[in-house]
């Protein structure tokens, strides 16, 4: 059934999370609502489901057929029967103690529907014997299919899916989206992943800072010529094709409480002019699409900074690891995380360590950091043995390795100011007091931060700024090796390339050896000189980024590359 949203506004007190947004979901259409964290997409979806917290107020209109959803108080008989919800992360959404069949029958009973469990299971493309299985016996993709079957039990007219593919690998993501598309029900998918949804969506709506930035058919949006923000999002998603280039949008999305005057994207936009800072643009229709930009359809192409490639050859090897094995032991079982790894990284070189979760890449990173002692094998850091060092000598070696942690929201002490955080390695090492401030300033500027932030607490910074503070903290002790563990994975798409650019510049300028751990082969192809692919504790592929991306030797690498080709 058709969903028509007009001038929908969601407020939390004085803060406007969704600002006069209009969108349509046609009969049987799949519409993707895309944007980064804080853009208002989730608030919009929740307002359609009546799931907003009580502090929120909704104005405007959202008509499902002839039913008004905006500002509705009474939701009995609507959720599940008229509007189906495909939850985020089916890992936890299913009851672990009931069989799939009885969970489906429960849904059918609740919604007094005439659906048949077996037919529902057929419809989501699962074998019938799933009905007698428990959720833990199914894979992540199968569980997401079960979650969709549960949603279909109430025979809804509209599906709302909030990040339905989060936590699934790239290959399974595509299969789940293809399934949702094949259902033929009007669907609104909320996601941060524009490139992932483009092949499956009929219509794409891109939101930025609470406003609709661009809306149009997926085919038009994909053509790289529309709203500068959409173009930025497309170029900021790293492709496994090394020729494509990986860009980033400078700056960060504005906080809800402090929105810029005029066009909200103007402070980050490469083609912005005076008019953009003064006047808020209305949605301009051009062809089948329309965009909220003063220069929409003018043919101006925004140029975003690309992550630079390495130009210098690698210097002397800084870190060596040979014959590394590592076994985790617990009372009941042993897990072999690494099974014989030979690895080295040279000065001025970025080596990508690629693998899915459980491949052993984080264990290897922690061995290089001296946090874990390998069960077997030898690790050397600039000629000194890291594997056998203990106590004071181990700590002295650790000071020569910088660490950028995966989670910027947890890796900075929340009660310390940026200045203290960055200076901490110097204090710990007992460095000379007089030189400290200069070294902190130098590290901050290498990491691309201004000195204004010295007095701030981490809670006052954006995710990208926090990760730059982490980089400054890693650089301040003049290390020879930098280990970046999934340093971009928790950041917004638009700022990831910026972090990779900074890593490249510190590798070139300071002659630093960098180990870049990632699960995204596209990022590694775009930003690293060499790539090492790990699978189940073994190296399955090893070579320069150009070679690996153009002619992978191992079928596993080929599959990974194919899934992130776009």
């Amino acid at each position: 059934m058709k969903l028509t949203v007009r001038d929908l506004t969601v407020r939390y007190g004085d803060l406007v999370a969704v600002d006069r947004v209009s969108l349509d979901v046609g009969e049987g259409e799949l519409v993707a609502l895309v944007g980064e964290s804080g853009c208002g997409k989730t608030s919009l979806a929740r307002s359609l489901l009546g799931l907003l917290p009580r502090t929120a107020s909704v104005t405007g209109s959202a008509m499902l057929g002839d039913l008004e959803l905006a500002g509705r108080q009474e939701w009995t008989g609507l959720r599940g029967r008229r509007i189906g919800i495909v939850p985020q992360g089916a890992m936890t959404g299913l009851s672990p103690v009931h069989r799939i069949g009885s969970q489906l029958r429960e849904m059918i009973t609740i919604h007094e529907s005439s659906a048949d469990p077996a037919a529902l299971i057929d419809r989501v493309g699962l074998p019938r014997d799933v009905l007698t299985s428990f959720p833990h016996q199914l894979s992540g993709g199968q569980r997401q299919r079960v979650a969709i079957a549960l949603t279909l039990a109430g025979q809804p007219d509209l599906l709302v899916a909030d990040e339905p593919t989060t936590g699934l690998d790239a290959i399974t993501q595509g299969q789940v989206l293809a399934l949702i598309r094949s259902l033929g029900i009007s669907t609104l998918i909320v996601s941060h992943d524009l490139t992932g949804l483009l092949p499956y969506a009929d219509q794409v709506d891109v939101m930025y800072a609470g406003r609709m930035a661009e809306t149009g058919p997926a085919a038009t949006i994909a053509r790289h010529g529309g709203h500068p923000y959409t173009v930025g999002l497309l170029t900021a998603t790293p492709s496994a094709d090394r020729a494509a280039g990986w860009g980033s949008i400078p700056g960060a999305a504005p906080p809800m409480a402090n929105l810029p005057h005029g066009c909200r994207f103007a402070p980050r936009c490469p083609i912005a002019e005076d008019v953009c800072h003064e006047q808020e643009p209305a949605l301009l229709p051009v062809g089948a699409a329309s965009g909220a930009c003063h220069f929409y359809g003018s043919g101006r192409v925004p140029r975003y900074p690309l992550v630079p490639r390495g130009t210098t050859d690698a210097g002397e090897p800084v870190a060596w690891a040979s014959g590394i094995r590592h076994v985790y032991r617990s009372r009941t079982r042993t897990t072999e995380a690494l099974r014989g790894i030979d690895f080295h990284v040279g000065a001025g070189e970025i080596v990508g360590l690629v693998g899915e979760s459980g491949s052993g890449k984080s264990t290897l990173a922690r061995i290089l950091l001296g946090l874990i002692r390998p069960t077997q094998g030898r690790v050397e850091l600039s000629g000194q043995d890291l594997g056998t060092a203990r106590g004071r000598s181990l700590r002295a070696l650790q000071r020569r390795v910088g660490f950028v942690h995966q989670d910027p929201y947890d890796s900075l002490h929340p009660g310390m100011r940026v200045g203290e955080i960055v200076a901490e390695p110097l204090v710990v090492a007992g460095a000379d007091k007089r030189g400290r401030l200069e070294r902190v300033h130098a590290a901050l500027s290498s990491a691309g931060l201004s000195e204004e932030l010295l007095q701030r607490f981490p809670g006052q910074l954006s995710g990208g700024q926090r990760q730059r503070v982490s980089i400054a903290l890693a650089l301040v002790g003049n290390p020879v090796l930098l280990v970046a563990d999934e340093a971009t994975s928790m950041l917004d798409v638009s700022t990831r390339g910026g972090i990779a650019t900074t890593l490249r510049s510190v590798a070139t300028d300071r002659g630093l050896a960098v180990v870049f751990v990632t699960h995204d082969v596209g990022e590694a192809v775009q930003s690293c000189d060499r790539i090492v692919v790990l699978k189940a504790g073994r190296i399955v592929e090893h070579g320069t980024s150009a070679d690996v991306s153009s002619s992978p030797a191992d079928p596993y690498t080929a599959k990974l590359l194919e899934a992130s080709h776009h």
């Binding site: 917290p53 009580r54 950091l369 001296g370 946090l371 181990l394 700590r395 002295a396 070696l397 650790q398 000071r399 390795v401 660490f403 942690h405 995966q406 989670d407 929201y409 947890d410 890796s411 900075l412 002490h413 929340p414 009660g415 901490e424 390695p425 710990v428 090492a429 982490s470 903290l473 002790g477």
Partner: protein, 283 residues
């Protein structure tokens, strides 16, 4: 600055916690007043035995003609100081045991935690009674007995807190930068574990008050020192419940114990609600 401090305090305690803090402050003020009373207060004979409330004797007197109001006030000081000393000692023991079991040398964790488990399955009250009966009834003996018996629960809690904090990002970063253990503990772990000590302290103080009153009530306290539990012991010995005297003899110490425990519970639960993200109410 002061408005900010008040605002933070309100955020930490909430209305419920502030009521508890106010109540506790009043009880502490009465206890402090009691410290400045002469030594004979509540111990010397000042009136006829079993005197009813009258002017100068608001709560009457007991079977030896001692002033019951003064007993109540002096008892407050003894009960509270015992509770706070026990709580401080227990928190210290729990922090050391929990810390060692969490990040201490390998092989120490299992014996410490199994030891705590053994202590947990033993019935606390019976342990108290046995220990008090055999070891004596002086103030410091009771403090030592309680600290030794009350540490297992908080030490388990603090062990898990240490383990959780050890896996936090900024602690891992600090260890990777080559910081020594004392630095990681003092600068980073303390920030996470420190606030947890508040509810541990408050809850232990609460249990200490109840157990002290229980022991005294059973006659295992020091019968010569006035305390809330001792007063209740004499209530029971004299069969006060058979006369009207229960109203001024039994009710006030009972109410004092209840109010003190209530005040501590209000503070403890509201601090815990605010520190424990799992208990946070988002509605």
């Amino acid at each position: 600055m002061s408005t900010l401090a008040v605002a933070t305090r309100h955020r930490l305690l909430g209305t419920q916690g502030l009521v508890g803090a106010g109540l506790l402050a009043a009880i502490v003020a009465i206890a402090v007043y009691g410290v400045f009373l002469p030594d004979s207060a509540g111990r010397a004979r000042v009136a006829a035995p079993y005197a009813e409330p009258q002017s100068g004797l608001p709560l009457g007197s007991d079977d030896l003609g001692r002033n019951l109001l003064e007993q109540l006030i002096v008892g407050a000081g003894i009960s509270l100081s015992l509770a706070f000393i026990v709580a401080a000692l227990t928190t210290l023991i729990a922090a050391i045991v929990g810390g060692l079991a969490g990040i201490g040398p390998r092989g120490l964790s299992a014996p410490l935690m199994r030891g705590a488990d053994v202590m947990l399955v033993l019935p606390e009250l019976i342990l108290f009674i046995l220990a008090a009966a055999f070891l004596g009834q002086s103030f410091w003996t009771r403090v030592a007995i309680m600290a030794v018996i009350l540490w297992p629960v908080p030490s388990r809690l603090l062990r898990s807190a240490v383990l959780t904090s050890w896996s936090r990002g900024h602690l891992e970063v600090a260890r990777a930068m080559g910081a020594p253990l004392w630095w990681v503990l003092g600068r980073h772990a303390s920030y996470i574990i420190g606030p947890l000590l508040v509810p541990v302290f408050v809850r232990t103080a609460m249990r200490a008050i109840i157990y002290d009153a229980t022991l005294s009530f059973l006659g295992l306290g020091d019968p010569t020192t006035p305390s809330w539990g001792t007063t209740l012991y004499w209530v029971q010995v004299n069969g006060v419940f058979l006369s009207d005297a229960w109203l001024w003899w039994a009710v006030p110490p009972g109410a004092a114990i209840t109010l003190t425990v209530l005040a501590l519970a209000l503070i403890g639960t509201s601090v815990e609600d605010r520190l424990n993200p799992a208990l946070k109410d988002f509605s």
